[in-house]
């Protein structure tokens, strides 16, 4: 882990600072082909945490649909393609675009958009089946997107 912080107060300060620098989901700018050129959090991603986010059912849950040999999960899904070699097929900005909103790269994809928080039809509050109170957060935070992108870039 590249962001080792020993003091709780330091952690809080850094987290607050990082949040302030996040690109808001509504302000994300996509290049031609759906890539996002700059880090959404203004910070580099942590590939180790990215791997955690990818298997966490409450976070990315990427392996619900994708197989990743290096992660070796039980019963990975196969709705989406294997992510093995993703780091060879796509550069970091393209990976960031696909994770954030894959529909900008593949218009008909079934893949959810992980860094977006508007434009939904009947959005609900997580899995409650009820309408949300207030704005929905994106499925992943800016830093979590960066962490996943950093991990995917290692898949070569």
């Amino acid at each position: 882990m590249t962001r080792i912080i020993t003091l709780a107060s330091g952690l809080l300060a850094i987290a607050t600072m990082a949040a302030a620098e996040d690109v808001a989901p509504s302000a994300v700018s996509f290049a031609d082909g759906g890539a996002i050129l700059a880090s959404l959090s203004g910070m580099p991603g942590d590939p180790a945490n990215g791997a955690v986010v990818m298997v966490d059912r409450t976070k990315g849950n990427c392996i619900a649909c994708h197989q990743v040999t290096a992660i070796n999960a039980d019963f990975p899904g196969n709705v989406g393609p294997s992510l093995d070699g993703a780091g060879d097929r796509w550069d970091e900005s393209q990976l960031r675009g696909i994770v954030s909103n894959a529909k900008m790269t593949f218009p008909d994809t079934v893949m959810p958009s992980f860094y977006k928080n508007s434009g939904y039809i009947r959005p609900g509050a997580a899995f409650t089946g009820k309408a949300p109170e207030g704005d929905l957060p994106p499925l992943l935070t800016a830093q979590e997107v960066e962490d996943v992108v950093a991990y995917l870039a290692t898949l070569k």
Partner: protein, 286 residues
């Protein structure tokens, strides 16, 4: 379809499932109690020509052999307990009329045969398409003078199971034209709408990706010919509209109510995609 069958191609993912499942493969013939073969595979209805689906499959084919086997014997099928409960309620007077279902409808094995196969169905007097549950509720409140059962709850589900059983083995045959057409079109619209924060439509999983896996969940075509279904993971009956509630909820959406006009329309549309498959009475899924 790459589903594994005696005559099908075996997909890599399915091989791994088979390898982990001890016990014999049941295969692709659903025979109940050793003597009633149900149609679990049929040509797709004509309107599905542009969906890419040429053959429709009961969800039974997508389940593991142990689950498949439970539906093949009524003594093993826990759903039959609800059928018995429904049969008892059929003969029990209720409401201000103090009449039972049987007082008007007589012997259900005769009067209810084929009913489940044609619902949801246009009701001329009401001017709407009614689901079978909607019709049961109408009878109960308007004819019996009884308190409504809540939709998708134990009693009404048991009654639906009992009525559904009287059509077991008959082909699903819901009407999609005439006065039902606009409701059917509304259902189709809902089927292809990508709801919720995950932006998923019914079609995304059950038309485009059936026979694929989300984790260990083998995606079926989402057919509802088997409903009501005894779900092993819920240890209770689930209706089609009840399942819709859960499915739409799982897209991180504000779902519709089980007895909503939207889900009745969706039930008609999804039922019509199964025209030709057998009503399974009460099916078993995991």
């Amino acid at each position: 379809m790459t589903r594994t069958t005696s005559k099908g191609v075996i997909s890599a993912a399915m091989l791994s499932v088979l390898a982990s499942t001890a016990g014999a493969e049941i295969g692709d013939k659903l025979v109940v109690n050793g003597d009633l073969e149900l149609t679990v595979e049929a040509p797709a209805p004509a309107f599905m020509a542009d969906t890419g689906i040429k053959t429709i499959y009961s969800g039974w084919l997508f389940r593991d052999p142990d689950t498949q086997k439970i539906e093949m014997d009524d003594f093993d099928n826990p759903g039959m307990l609800y059928v018995d409960q429904g049969a008892e309620m059929w003969n029990t007077p209720a409401g201000t009329s103090n009449k039972s279902c049987a007082d008007c409808h007589g012997d259900a094995t005769e009067t209810m045969a084929g009913v489940r196969a044609t619902y949801p169905k246009w009701n001329e007097a009401a001017g709407v398409v009614r689901s079978l549950q909607g019709q049961i509720e109408f009878c109960r409140t308007e004819h019996q003078g009884a308190e409504p059962w809540k939709y998708a709850k134990a009693e009404i589900n048991a009654m639906e199971a009992f009525i559904s059983m009287q059509s077991r083995g008959m082909p699903v045959n819901v009407a999609i034209d005439g006065p039902a057409q606009s409701t059917w079109e509304q259902g189709r619209e809902i089927y292809y709408t990508r709801y919720g924060q995950l932006e998923l439509s019914c079609a995304n999983c059950h038309e485009q990706n059936y026979d694929h896996y989300i984790r260990s969940d083998h995606l079926s075509q989402g057919q509802i010919n088997g409903f009501p279904v005894y779900r092993l993971k819920d240890t209770q009956l689930t209706t089609a509209s009840g399942r819709f509630v859960g499915c739409v909820r799982d897209t991180r959406a504000e779902t519709f109510k089980a007895d909503s006009a939207e889900f009745t329309a969706l039930e008609l549309y999804v039922a019509s995609r199964g025209n030709g498959l057998s009503v399974e009475g009460v099916s078993v899924r995991h």
